[in-house]
Point group: C2
């Protein structure tokens, strides 16, 4: 039984990677830079997406694919209100997006009218296929109340992404979170990884994040690591 | 392909439920009350377990099964230091415990010497089998920084547990969390569900939680809902 389960997983992962490669080709052909935002529920994905749209919507056209375990679509509405073209994906209980869901969502977006695509993943820190969607950058959003031990506890996830946002730094005086301990863990797993300490609540650090996203789109930088399809 | 995946999942769930029933019988035979603690990473499972052990260790014998995606075992060490008999379970990347892992861990515990068993699950909010381990009470630990919308976003999880701890209420002045909105969502899904607002950091509300756990063990109350095996 364990052997069978592993085989099924490997087949699913291989198929997923092939679809991710097709997604990547479609994004590249349309001149889109795509960010896959991975985080635990409550880390602030939707808030960061809203803030990013509001800051950049006058300088580029932004699309959002919003993964959700239910049919509610509240987060996609928030992204549309902020000024993006948003598509809601109901994963029907699955804890992460897979490449096929992104492919279907891309088919519902006017790709030629989009410069930046933000993919809001569901909220799993573990499944590797959550990083194989075809996006150019996999960005992990951590938050200070989660605790500074998370890179040590989730080495595969922290070792496999291209950038880390550390949200809710306005709570640093009230939570037990040593930024240097956290960054030390990240650095050990993923040398030179970009980190963006910020607060969507107070606004601190957001400009650095906005500048980075804008420069990725302006220069057409689609990831110097290209981990997504290599891993 | 989707059909095949669903069939595999159903077989796995059925087998899991059978093993959970055997676990339950073993716990009942040994006179143990078992709590399955489910939460997102960073919500405070390990802290709540430590505090609970420290408060109750002189009045009952406590065992801990600690699920972790890696072999590190840091949390089991914390539980042992606090005064419990702890077993570490490496889920090898799986995002939740399954009944078979609990069965193997139970075999390594001196069941006759234990009154209260605390099962620390890994950190998935979605997979239903995380609630089918054989434990008597499934307790969800939420935390205020996660946001007050989580019952609305994870209705299956909030609708399927027997109690909810709301941790980190010391952060209420600094986060956007409306306790009544959160409780309203919980009540709509799970009428009359017990909620324990508390702070492992400041200690506020902990005594009510300790009293409840102690009374469950003292009266041998193994859950008035018995959802675990019924769902």
């Amino acid at each position: 039984m364990p052997v069978k389960t592993i085989q099924v997983s490997e087949n699913v992962l291989r198929t997923n990677r092939q679809i991710a490669q097709q997604n990547r080709a479609g994004l590249d052909a349309a001149g889109i830079v795509a960010l896959n935002l991975i985080a635990l529920p409550g880390a602030g994905k939707t808030s960061l997406i809203e803030q990013t749209i509001r800051s950049l919507r006058n300088r580029m056209r932004i699309g959002v694919i919003n993964g959700d375990t239910s049919a509610a679509g509240m987060d996609a509405e928030r992204a549309e209100k902020a000024g993006a073209i948003a598509v809601h994906v109901n994963t029907a209980g699955k804890c992460h997006l897979v490449a096929g869901m992104v492919r279907d969502a891309m088919a519902r977006l006017p790709l030629q009218d989009i410069d930046l695509l933000l993919i809001e993943n569901v909220g799993s820190m573990i499944c590797p296929s959550s990083r194989q969607l075809g996006s150019h950058w996999n960005v992990l959003i951590a938050s200070t109340p989660e605790g500074h031990d998370k890179p040590y506890k989730f080495p595969r996830m922290y070792g496999g992404v291209d950038a880390v946002v550390i949200n809710k730094i306005d709570l640093l005086p009230y939570v037990s979170f040593d930024l240097n301990y956290f960054k030390g863990g990240v650095e050990a797993l993923n040398r030179g990884l970009l980190t963006f300490p910020l607060s969507c609540f107070s606004g601190l650090g957001l400009v650095t994040w906005f500048d980075w996203v804008e420069s990725m789109v302006a220069t057409g930088d689609r990831g110097f690591r290209q981990r997504v399809l290599a891993s």
